[in-house]
Every structure is written in C-alpha cells, then in structure tokens.
C-alpha cells in the first residue's frame, strides 16, 4: 500500500513571490475552419464568393503566472482554457501575441531553441488512459526523457533519478517493468506526474488532470500535486472546469469565457465576492452539499459559437445586465483592488 506524505492539518506553505514566471500578452489563436480552396466557396446573393471561416479560440488574453503560485484557469468547454495551456507549452503556435518565460519570449522559438525550456516546464494531461504510451514500460517511459535531456548521464545516474521520482510520487519500483494498461486510472496519473517531474521542472501546466478520475482518486492526485509543489517549489498553471477544486487548490483564479478573460482574482476574493456576471453565474451553478435547493442564476440562451463571435462583450447575449454599450464595445480589464481585474462595463460603470 502506498501512502503519500500527509499533513492534514497544516495548510500548504508555498511561498508566492511577485516575480512573474510566465507572461502572456495579447494572445490570440484562430483555427482555420474551412479546408482547401474549394471548401471555402459559398453562394451569397447569387454570387460565388470565397469566404474563409475561423474558429476564434483565443481572442486577446493577458495572463501572468507568478513564481510559486497555483494559477487556476476555469471556464466551460470551448472557452479556450486548454488552448492557452497548449500554446504555453508550445504544442500550438499563437496567431498573435507573446508568451514570455522568465522574461524571454518563447512563442516563436524553433523546437531546438525550445529544448532548454522543455526541462523547466512540463505538462500533465487529462486522460490518464491515453497519456502513457501503451507499448512502453513504465521504466522506459520515465527514463526516456532523462536520457534525451541528459545524454551525458550514466545509466546508473538515470536509474537513480527515476527511482527517486518514483518514490516521491508513491510509485512502487516494482511497477517499472509493467505497461500502462496494467494500472488503474489513478495509478496512471501518478506515473504521468512522475514523467513530468523526472526532468525536474519548475513550472507545470496541468490540463484538467483530475477530471477523468473518480472522487476518491481525485483527492489522492490533488494531494500528490500539492506535496510536489511544496517539496519542489513548483509553479502550476492549472486548467479545470471544476470550481470546487479551484477553491481548494488555487492561489489565484482566471475565469475565461469564449476565448477572453472575464475576471482575475485571488481565490478567496473570487469565491467570496465574484464581480463579473459570468463568474457569479458559474459559482451559483456548483452543486453544493449544504443547501437543499439551488439558488442559481439562470443564464438565458446558449453559448455562442466561436466561429461568429458576438460583437462587444462576448457574454452580452446571456448576461442579465447587458446594455447597448456591452453589445457594441469590448470591455477592457480594469483593476478592482487586491490585484484583481474584471472585464465588465457594468462593473466599471458601477452598475454592478
């Protein structure tokens, strides 16, 4: 039986500094929707015209990740949170905007130039059933990155490093000769975390790392991630749709909607005093154990498609407080104290 280090009473004492580790500025990502030239042809008023359609996945996002914090990005499916994570990790290249890591721009680097950053930033994925190569043993999975990044290391040293990482995430060394499919979802996620930690990174992007797991396993993995943060001084960019997890895990929270940031705030501030109407609706929708009846804010309408983005504030179609200005003008993020920011005309005008 494997037990992780546990200190149920002491709150995690992670030192958050003001140093910005990752800086995202004016990030945009458009995916071309229509394929080749012929598929772009459309008939409009009797004329054959060529129209290229785009999915506007990210539309101008600014995010700062401070060293030592766990920054959570929340939002519903299609809000672009995963796209942001993948762009930070260089799995996608931005259409516009900049991503800086420790002050250096990394969004336009070639794979070779990115190599040194690969050791410093790593990623944990959502689906533990797909994130391990089915044809590789656990030992191979964990050794491969080390051999790749440290060609000068001896076999012995690599093995030692792997053993250390395995111990730190609570993996039995006996697992090494087995394949991923022989393990349960929670165990696989542990292995995936070990793989990310093997190269000893300082920054980890976690894309919905516990969404595919059962409640009792979620707690194990979250605890493991908090242990790792404490012992390795990690910084997290944590992508999730689960607000209960955010409340527990996050230092600060970024709320996204349709490729834009609605609100950024300290976790406690956001949960006690949500300012943006979307944040308010989102928080009210969490099913809680305590109250008998949900008092949630009913949003009208549907989430618009990111293909034809609404004008003005992307949320105006479903917002109970929207007015003419919201339909016309894109709201800018305005500081509202305690380092929090809200992009909402109603808040700016004091209507809300």
């Amino acid at each position: 039986m494997i037990q992780t280090l546990q200190q149920p009473t002491a709150a995690a004492t992670v030192t958050t500094t003001d140093e910005t580790l990752v800086e995202i500025r004016g990030l945009e990502k458009h995916f071309a929707l229509s394929g080749d030239f012929l598929e772009q042809l459309r008939f409009q008023r009797g004329k054959l015209v060529r129209r290229q359609e785009f999915v506007h996945a990210i539309n101008g996002v600014d995010i700062d990740v401070k060293r030592g914090e766990a920054l959570c990005v929340v939002g519903e499916s299609g809000c672009g949170k995963s796209t942001v994570a993948r762009m930070v990790m260089g799995l996608l290249s931005p259409t516009r905007g900049e991503i800086r890591y420790a002050g250096e721009r990394i969004d336009h680097l070639s794979p070779r130039q990115l190599l040194p950053y690969r050791r410093r930033m790593q990623m944990i994925f959502q689906n533990p059933y797909a994130s391990l190569n089915p044809r590789m043993t656990i030992q191979q999975t964990l050794e491969e990155p080390l051999r790749f990044h440290h060609p000068d290391w001896s076999r012995e040293r690599i093995r030692q490093q792997v053993a250390e990482v395995m111990a730190s995430v609570g993996i039995d060394p006996e697992w090494g000769k087995r394949f991923g499919h022989e393990f349960s979802g929670g165990q696989r996620q542990r292995i995936a975390i070990a793989r990310a930690l093997a190269v000893d990174p300082e920054f980890i992007v976690a894309d919905e790392p516990i969404s595919a797991l059962d409640v009792s396993i979620q707690a194990q993995v979250l605890n493991l991630m908090m242990d790792a943060q404490e012992s390795r001084q990690l910084t997290y960019l944590f992508i999730t749709h689960d607000l209960a997890v955010v409340e527990h895990f996050g230092t600060r929270v970024v709320v996204m909607y349709l490729g834009r940031v609605c609100e950024v705030a300290e976790t406690h501030t956001l949960f006690s005093q949500p300012r943006h109407p979307y944040t308010q609706a989102l928080l009210s929708a969490i099913p809680r154990l305590e109250d008998d009846r949900p008092e949630y804010i009913r949003l009208s309408g549907e989430v618009p498609t990111p293909v034809n983005l609404p004008s003005g504030c992307v949320f105006h179609g479903r917002c109970p407080h929207a007015n003419e200005r919201c339909r016309r003008e894109v709201p800018r993020a305005i500081p509202i104290g305690h380092g929090a920011q809200v992009a909402c005309h109603a808040v700016e005008e004091g209507r809300l």
């Binding site: 037990q3 059962d214 707690a219 607000l243 809680r288 949630y296 549907e302």
Partner: protein, 339 residues
C-alpha cells in the same frame, strides 16, 4: 405499496474470461413521486442498475436472480411485448450523453412522434401537438422549428432538453436518469437539473437519478443509495447520508470532496481504488481500503475479510458494515483518520 420494488437483484455478464457479477443482491423501493439517488464511483454498477430496471441489459449480461416489481408485475419475467409497452410509456429513461442518444438520421419530430405512436393510437397531427407541447414545457425556443431539425443542428444542452421532453411524452410514473448532466457544462448542468426537478415535482413523477456527484444528489433527491463494487452499502434519507454517513466508504467519499477540507490543506483521501468487478475481494468489498477494519493489533478483522456484511439499521439508514455499531459509539469520527 411501493411503486417500484427491486429485491435481491443479481446481474451477471458472461464474458469470455469468465462470469462477472455486476450487481449483487441489490434491493430498494421507490414510492410514487419520490426522488431516489444512486451514487457510486465508475464501475460500481450504478449504470447497470439503471438499465436493469427497464430490463435493457444486453447480452452478454443477464439477470441471474431477483425481481423488479412494478405495479405488481415482475419486469424480469415479462414478455418482450409487455415490456415494450412499459418502456417509454410508464417508465422512461434519460441517457448520459445527449450527443449520442438521438438518432442522427431522424428528425427530432420523427423521434418524438414515433414514441407516441408506439404507445397510443393517435394521429400524426395530434402527436405533433403533444410533442410541441412537451418541447414548450422544457423551455425550448421556437419548438415548431426544432421538430423538423436533425439532432446535429442542436447544442448539447438543447438535445438533453429534447431527451427530457421525450422521457415526459407519455406522462410516465418513473424516470430513470443515468448521469443526465455529466456530459454537460457546469451552467447547463444546473439548468438541466433544475428543469428535471421542476418537471418531476409538477407531474408527480418518481425519479431515479444515477450520478457520481454527491452535490447533485444532495440537491435533487430525497433518498440516496450508495453503491460500491456492485453492492448497495448504504441507503437512507439523503440529508442524513450527507450530514451523517455511517458507512466508512460513504464517509470517505464525502470527506474527500475539496469543500470538506480547508483551502490549501491536504484532502482526506481514501487510499487505493475500487477493485474491478471481476476482482472483488471476499467479505466486505471495501475492507482493503477501510480505515476501521483493523483490530487493536493492526490486523484486518476476520469478519470484514470473510463475511459479506448484512444490513444494519442505524437511525433511518440501512448500512452494510460490520462495524456500524462500534462506529456509532465511537462518534464523532475524525475523518482524517480514515487513511
């Protein structure tokens, strides 16, 4: 008499590698208009339970024992024809993933009207009127247009509302909802859940809600059934289970929720994972993970290892655990000790 009375239900899957017992000795009742939640982690057998109620278990699964009494008739013994008349008519079902549930090549209208025509002698025009009416009840905008649309033209939330409308078409006595909001976004989830609740209350429909989300259960249902490794381990009024669970597993499940620990602290995890149904340990299936099943010497208790626990009544709850009495005496339990 209860509306639905499930007793000693035993469902097995005859797989090539051997027989897997998906449900063991599952019993519960449901009264008219009552809302019952079935919770458990994936693989606990709760979906199998949902499909078994309508006798929809497909090969290689089969009902090996037990009975499902609905209005005095045993659904496990009914002829296909008689079952067909009950399905969708008196007991209807809502599936998990609205994107997969509607037939992609038939219009919404066709799929609604065929359901009415299968159970009533009715003209198409009348059927269309009823369908329109139900669509209005689930707050679908411009329902006339929707009837002639294909499922792929609608969003997930919209499709789930249509599925709810289909479930309500013939004013059933029971709706079985298998994780009806899991595939949806948080805000849509809340909407669909409150819609379901509203309609069940309005039409006095009994609801069996299968979910892994304790929050949803606590807000919607009156009674709750907790499942683990194919068995019911605890059942009782939802409030009591949420506030004062008796079974160590239920306690662990509730305490593991992030909201039960102070922000930033470690969560109260249950060690290990639920065994797959083919490898359920003997005795109490939970004993290898249970924090209470050890005796003073640190050894696993013999009864936990060997005997399947019988139900013990504790307050309004029924709990299948060898140690309920002791645990109640030891109250209040510090959840942190559980691991």
């Amino acid at each position: 008499m209860a509306l639905l009375e499930v007793s000693h239900l035993d469902v097995r899957f005859a797989l090539r590698q051997g027989e897997v017992r998906a449900l063991r000795d599952v019993s519960f009742t449901l009264d008219r208009g009552e809302r019952l939640g079935i919770v458990g982690e994936s693989g606990a057998g709760k979906s199998v339970a949902a499909f078994t109620i309508l006798n929809l278990i497909a090969k290689p699964g089969y009902i090996a024992g037990g009975s499902i009494l609905f209005e005095g008739r045993d659904l496990t013994r009914l002829k296909p024809r008689a079952l067909q008349n009950i399905r969708g008519n008196q007991i209807s079902m809502i599936f998990q993933d609205p994107m997969m549930t509607l037939n992609p090549v038939l219009t919404v209208g066709e799929q609604m009207i065929e359901c009415l025509k299968a159970h009533r002698r009715i003209r198409s025009r009348e059927a269309r009127e009823i369908a329109l009416n139900k669509l209005r009840q689930v707050y679908i905008p411009s329902p006339e247009k929707r009837l002639d649309q294909y499922p792929h033209e609608l969003s997930g939330g919209m499709r789930q509302r249509i599925i709810i409308a289909i479930a309500l078409l013939l004013d059933p006595d029971i709706i079985v909802a298998d994780e009806p909001t899991t595939a949806l976004d948080v805000t849509i989830q809340a909407e669909i859940m409150s819609l379901l609740l509203e309609l069940c209350e309005k039409h006095n429909v009994a609801l069996i809600l299968i979910t892994h989300d304790l929050g949803v259960v606590s807000q919607v249902t009156q009674r709750t059934l907790v499942m683990y490794a194919g068995r019911v381990i605890e059942q009782g009024p939802t409030r009591e289970i949420i506030n004062d669970a008796q079974h160590p597993y239920t306690q662990g499940l509730i305490n593991a929720l992030p909201q039960m620990a102070s922000p930033g602290s470690r969560l109260n995890q249950i060690p290990g994972a639920m065994p797959p149904l083919a490898k359920t340990p003997p005795g109490c299936a939970f004993h290898p993970r249970c924090g209470f099943s050890t005796d003073a010497a640190g050894q696993r208790r013999r009864d936990c290892r060997e005997d399947v626990p019988a139900f013990v009544t504790s307050g309004n709850c029924h709990v299948a655990c060898h140690m309920v009495r002791e645990l109640v005496e030891r109250d209040p339990v510090e959840p942190g000790e559980a691991s």
